[in-house]
Symmetry: C3
Subunit: 315 residues, 3 copies
């Protein structure tokens, strides 16, 4: 594997899950792999879990992490080809990516979408510019349309907590005060489509994700119907895809509550975090024994570590 930019880079999700769980049992068993190797973590946006877990994963492999908040530590980066750079950007990605490639053996990038320019966001111009202009492997730490480190984390977590051969997994939309990206929902959908699960998406009408991604996955507009017999409730807000980046009106009743969780097969509650309590999900759910958001977040380390391991083995 060269880059890890999408769930499609996972060639065999079951073997990846198995390998990640083995890594988790002895996280320091491959420290030699990364010795004297450097990973640059470039953040165009805020981060807590990704920032810390990717550093931890790199350290577990013996690597030296170097972290940079691009806008705060350096300056605005230009992504448009041919532009006359007489405005707010001081360096073109052509130079930036090529230069950083010489200081780092792997580059990991976080860059959120605008949520205003659908075509530009869907072009994944930041991530793809790094892929094009960098000379080292690129890891997606959440891009405009995908968060494949999170999705791998989620797949590992579901495999750990599943009590049946083919669990029912429900991705449910939930309300939020801000317009949020589709990246987590997209990548989770793609991961579930690769796993042996019964996968259902539920959201209010108007919040359909990109149909190229959801494909044949059933969409249920009645949240309670979707929750019936679920083994996993994966909750996430996203803004409208059709009416791109907008918060629609019909949002109010979708918070995940204990009453709704009671409709499930004692389902585990998952969320990528950060989560707004009592907006996205009620305290009673998040504080219940069925919430597994904390061990889920722990798996961020081992998902990242597996990805870095695979890249290092291929350097």
């Amino acid at each position: 594997m060269k880059n890890y930019t999408s769930v499609h880079d996972i060639d065999n999700i079951n073997s990846w899950i198995k390998e990640a769980r083995t890594l988790k049992e002895s996280p320091l068993s491959h420290m030699g792999l990364g010795t004297n190797k450097t990973i640059g973590l470039l953040f165009f946006n805020s981060s807590l879990r990704t920032r810390l877990s990717t550093q931890k994963a790199a350290l577990n492999l013996g690597m030296n992490p170097i972290v940079m908040n691009v806008s705060g530590d350096a300056w605005g980066i230009e992504f448009e080809d041919g532009s006359v750079m007489n405005g707010g950007t001081a360096e073109h990605i052509k130079e930036a990516a090529a230069v950083v490639s010489q200081y780092c053996d792997i580059i990991a990038v976080r860059a959120f979408p605008s949520l205003t320019d659908k075509a530009k966001d869907e072009s994944e111009y930041v991530l793809n510019a790094f892929i094009k202009h960098a000379s080292v492997p690129i890891v997606n730490m959440e891009s405009a349309t995908g968060h494949p480190l999170q999705a791998l984390t989620d797949a590992i977590t579901i495999s750990e907590y599943s009590k049946v051969a083919k669990p029912k997994v429900v991705l449910t939309w939930a309300p939020h005060v801000k317009a949020l990206p589709h990246a987590v929902a997209n990548s989770f959908t793609q991961a579930m489509q690769k796993m042996d699960v019964e996968f259902v998406i539920t959201h209010p009408e108007g919040y359909e994700l990109n149909p190229d991604i959801t494909g044949n996955t059933p969409i249920v507009y009645d949240q309670k119907e979707a929750f019936a017999n679920a083994d996993f409730i994966y909750t996430k807000n996203w803004s409208s895809y059709k009416d791109y980046g907008k918060i629609l009106n019909n949002d109010l009743d979708w918070m995940v509550t204990a009453e709704k969780m009671a409709l499930t097969n004692s389902a585990k509650f998952m969320h990528c975090l950060p989560v707004r309590r009592n907006v996205v999900v009620a305290d009673a759910v998040l504080d219940s024994e069925n919430a597994i958001v904390i061990p889920q977040a722990n798996n961020r380390t081992f998902a990242a570590q597996l990805v870095l391991k695979k890249i290092l083995e291929n350097l």
Copy 2:
């Protein structure tokens, strides 16, 4: 020892001082203790000495430090239980502390008081939320009401520079242009109360510290009287505790000057730094041979290193 959050966590200050001074003589003698262990330094507020010395202390023990400016690198953290998070905070401390605990073997936190809500500040809601919700040891890098790494530093420094069996130590208030916390003064007071020193506090009327902390420590309102025969002058500004967070009017004459230092027993001048020259203390004092603020700051490393060593030994 699990956490180090207050001077009260020092079970025997004399043996701690002795052990810190031994560490200082061979700072790399326990590098194996921290190998493959990670400390997360979480800053809710600015820092220079604490930021650098705690990293240095961790490195001296073989640990990997990971530094995060919480607000700038991540987002606003919610500390209120049961809140409906539809405002400016994006993640609850319940999740944040539990999650970070999985990436770091020790969490160190800096969080200053509001100086507007006395009850909330005194509840130490940030520090205590970390203690409650984290699953790893917590180190206080200055909280609303205490700065115990500084106080341990100060105790070590006084032991190094003391020429008499029972030195006279004076904590003097000094003017400042901004309203400052009580944390340093509180912890210094608590440390001096544990040591075999003659300890006196001097400040203008109205600047009394929390009486639960000062206890039986003599308070002298005449700065010159307090300075008489002093062996150590520890200078620090703080805002009013009674008229909480306010700067009172009667402040003007309290800058520490060479004239006032002449009243002492050739006292050493101490300050936790940063210090505003010619506001808190005159250049002539800070530039004199009796100023020991630089070696005092050097001891920050060994105070932190001792605390981390004790925690690591107990993991």
Copy 3:
């Protein structure tokens, strides 16, 4: 060598270039030199290459880099002697430099000029305050008037790409939308004056650099004439030195284009980066095979590594 603050600290540029190129061939061959040593990188201004390459250089030598954005992570630093610090600065450089010296074995500093107060900028008050008040070696990561790590990089790069015994090197001014410092141009000039090259500077009238620096170096006001037979075109914008910090009017035609490059002896195109495309230089030049800005940037690591190696050997 104690400090590296100026090109004048290079005692023999040819032997330095040779040693840097040897380091480049086996960058990890001196890892023992920096073991358990710490370098503090203090940024008063933004940085990408310097930030990453200096960390990389330190890691290659086994050092622990600690990075701090001074204003963002800490607070405003006072540089004026005798000032009454009742304004925006919270700590004097006397304390800051002395304190940081105790946590770091080497301090590297970036501090740009004001471009408004010529005398103050030329006094190099930030860099010189660190030299005066720190007790450890100081490395200049770009100061008000010089960027000697860049100049050493440039010298290494020219030696690598030179096809003739005495190449013609042209430093050409180019337009920019912002008023920029003279540091890169100054240090490049000083480095070229030490090398066996035919060195020419070209810029519009009014953009003369400090004559104390340019000395006997020929200045040609006709850019095309200067380009004739050049082997290296080193491009950089700077603001007026005479009319200090100002952008003058006669700037428009000086962008480096393919047409102008055609006048040269198939010259290599160099720039310190970041560079504004189609303002400073046309895409056609930067995307041509003769542009060597990326390998030039790569040499930042080995220039920094050589400097740190020389300092470490002398500790």
